[in-house]
Symmetry: C2
Subunit: 249 residues, 2 copies
């Protein structure tokens, strides 16, 4: 068996998230359907770096699978794309050793969150950015973001439904960039809890509006209580941007 | 009666074009439905600067209508947007004199055509740019574009189905800009025939590929024959960008 690693980009708009769920259209299901066709009807299970929720997009999601077929490394991209709808595009495929695991071998991940700050919503980005046409103090948001950078228990910044016990994660960098009609948040860390990026974004937005003080982040982390942080920002502004398996760029 | 001018942006993906057609979802129909609601069930007819085909987008389409209601000039934007789906966004509304006509008063129009030139198609721009991952000589395309700039009979550059008799139009400027993953054509002129921008784009692409010589444009214009020019570029890369009613910017 050969293990194959793929990088995949998808528009999350029409999907009920990444993971297979009964009677829902998911990214995993579409990919497994395509692989089943390539394998002449044999089921092939894929493993991703993690799941994404309904409406969340991916630019660089990673998954792996094992195959007995002798298709060349780079041909998997072409074979899969020829069977997939245009909402899912495989960008890269390569052979990896059997000890590579798309989920357990992850070193770092980057998520981005996009706000469309123009006065009117745009018909073209309505599913690809959260329309937020109100004043935001980017310097204050960056100050708060810097206080969230480090190794902390992020219990205050994850959904109350989070099932994992260990809520300690390391955030390496949060950067916030403003252009004419967009504010883009980038979050790089060793892992993210359920809804963590969306809750951090929602809380940072409230800092940007002056509803919270930047230096309050320290207290919010210490409280370990989801009730004290901001609203969960909507799914459609969020992108799984990149997954690293080594510590290089 | 007060005449109101509106600027409207729309995602053409889900529409069968601009103009009302029996049993099809069109932009005009959606706008007239919203106006009918505002007018408590009375039909209100709108007139646009021109129609756009199925799949074609608009950033700055203009329409006008007449109303007996005493809604303030800038409130029409809000009233309409509150009733419209997110694929159509009214960006501006103002009162205009009765002799203003969205179609007949047009001085200039700009259309843009976008190519996505990255190696893989993007799930995010699949409906908003034509994926064309092949080498293009932009300098040659610009040379050809400059030869199409001026006042000519554009019979070779419009659909054979074009119904108007006078096919003379003035193109004021064609500019072509290349960025990392996009080539964007801008066409400014006093008017455009049916499919004219898409045929000009398709022909310029063939120049960019070296399939045609830039200086052949002179001959193509002189032949006045649709058969001699390039393929009609697909609708989903095209945007009605701006409509001018005075000769200023």
């Amino acid at each position: 068996m050969q293990r194959v690693k793929c990088i995949v980009s998808y528009d999350g708009t029409l999907f009920s998230g990444y993971q297979v769920q009964p009677s829902k259209r998911t990214v995993q299901l579409e990919l497994e359907k395509a692989l089943k066709q390539i394998h002449k009807g044999t089921d092939v299970r894929i493993t991703a770096s993690g799941r994404t929720d309904a409406g969340v997009h991916a630019l660089g999601q990673v998954f792996h699978f094992d195959t007995p077929l002798t298709i060349a490394e780079n041909r998997w991209t072409i074979a899969l794309n020829s069977l997939l709808n245009k909402e899912i595009v495989v960008l890269h495929s390569e052979f990896v050793p059997q000890d590579f695991h798309a989920r357990y071998s992850v070193q770092k991940k980057e998520y981005r969150y996009k706000l469309n700050i123009s006065p009117f919503p745009s018909p073209f980005t309505r599913n690809y950015a959260y329309h937020f046409p109100f004043p935001l103090n980017v310097a204050e948001m960056q100050k708060a973001a810097d206080l969230l950078t480090g190794t902390f228990d992020f219990s205050s910044f994850c959904s109350a439904k989070t099932e994992v016990n260990d809520k300690v994660r390391s955030i390496y960098k949060i950067s916030i960039k403003k252009t004419e009609d967009e504010v883009c948040f980038s979050f790089v860390g060793n892992g993210f809890l359920y809804n963590m990026v969306r809750i951090m974004t929602g809380t940072l937005i409230e800092v940007g509006q002056g509803k919270r003080r930047a230096d309050d982040m320290v207290r919010l982390l210490a409280l370990k209580d989801r009730q004290v942080t901001g609203k969960t920002a909507p799914a459609h502004g969020l992108y799984l941007w990149k997954v690293w398996y080594t510590n290089d760029n």
